[in-house]
């Protein structure tokens, strides 16, 4: 089990720049700030859309969901809506997917099986 959260970022240049953040480790209250800071770096560098690849995440708790909510607000600070069009999540574990569903995030953020599917959905 991973001690820290590691985040690798790549960028797809298209009509709109999309940053793909590959998360590895645990997203908890100890690493929430790391996730938010890395996302802010990508957004400040010009990315208008984000994909969070969660296939390497071994734990996701409420702190991680607060981070994802904060990131969605960074991407669309003026919008109040039921679904965030600028952030997509890929391959959460069954436990992480259950957290999304329990907190109602599955109706707020699209969840995809692959990065290609997520890219195509923007």
């Amino acid at each position: 089990m991973s001690e820290k959260l590691q985040i690798g970022i790549s960028r797809e240049e298209g009509e709109k720049a999309v940053s793909i953040m590959r998360l590895k480790g645990s997203v908890d209250a100890n690493t929430q700030g790391t996730l938010e800071a890395k996302a802010k770096e990508a957004i400040d560098a010009g990315s208008q859309r984000l994909i969070l690849d969660m296939s390497g995440v071994d734990y996701l708790g409420s702190a991680g969901m607060r981070a994802i909510h904060a990131i969605s607000r960074m991407l669309s600070p003026d919008e109040q809506g039921m679904r965030s069009p600028y952030i997509k999540v890929v391959s959460p574990s069954p436990a992480a997917a259950k957290v999304f569903k329990t907190l109602g995030f599955d109706s707020f953020i699209d969840i995809h099986d692959s990065i290609d599917d997520a890219l195509a959905a923007f």
Binding site: A29, Y59, V99
Partner: protein, 150 residues
């Protein structure tokens, strides 16, 4: 076996590992582990952030009670009942600028019952998961190593 630890948020991973190890020793089905880790992580985070404001002493004990699992979380923080003070409704993510109540909502969804009591030193939170032990469990492990995992 009780985990006694001077904890901060950097210990969350270690605490989740302890929950897995102890649940395995008790013979709890692995399908339940995610719920147990989630509930304990949220409870500990709540104590560290809101009770201690960072770091403090914690005791975590997993004990069978008939077919049920009781997880005790003891602290020396000022008295606070997270369940009694929880928001009545979850504020959903799309509705407000600052949604809330996520942690306690996840704890309650993962466990069957959550009890709080004030102790002489602080608080004791009991997280109950019913029907996860196939045989009545003793409160005493059979050896000091508790060596009967699978």
């Amino acid at each position: 076996m009780t985990l006694k630890i001077r904890a901060d948020l950097g210990q969350l991973n270690r605490i989740r590992e302890y929950v897995t190890e102890r649940a395995t020793e008790l013979g709890i089905p692995s399908a339940v582990f995610d719920d147990l880790r989630l509930a304990v992580d949220e409870a500990v985070t709540n104590v560290l952030v809101h009770g201690y404001g960072g770091a403090g002493d914690l005791e975590i004990e997993l004990r069978g009670h008939g077919p049920d699992l009781h997880i005790f979380l003891r602290d020396r923080a000022p008295p606070f009942d997270p369940v009694g003070n929880a928001p009545r409704d979850l504020v959903p993510p799309g509705d407000r600028e600052s949604p809330g109540g996520f942690g306690i909502f996840l704890m309650q969804s993962a466990m069957d019952e959550i009890l709080h009591r004030e102790t002489r030193d602080g608080n004791e939170l009991t997280l109950v998961k019913r029907g996860v032990l196939s045989t009545p469990a003793s409160s005493h492990t059979p050896s000091s190593s508790g060596n009967h995992g699978n």
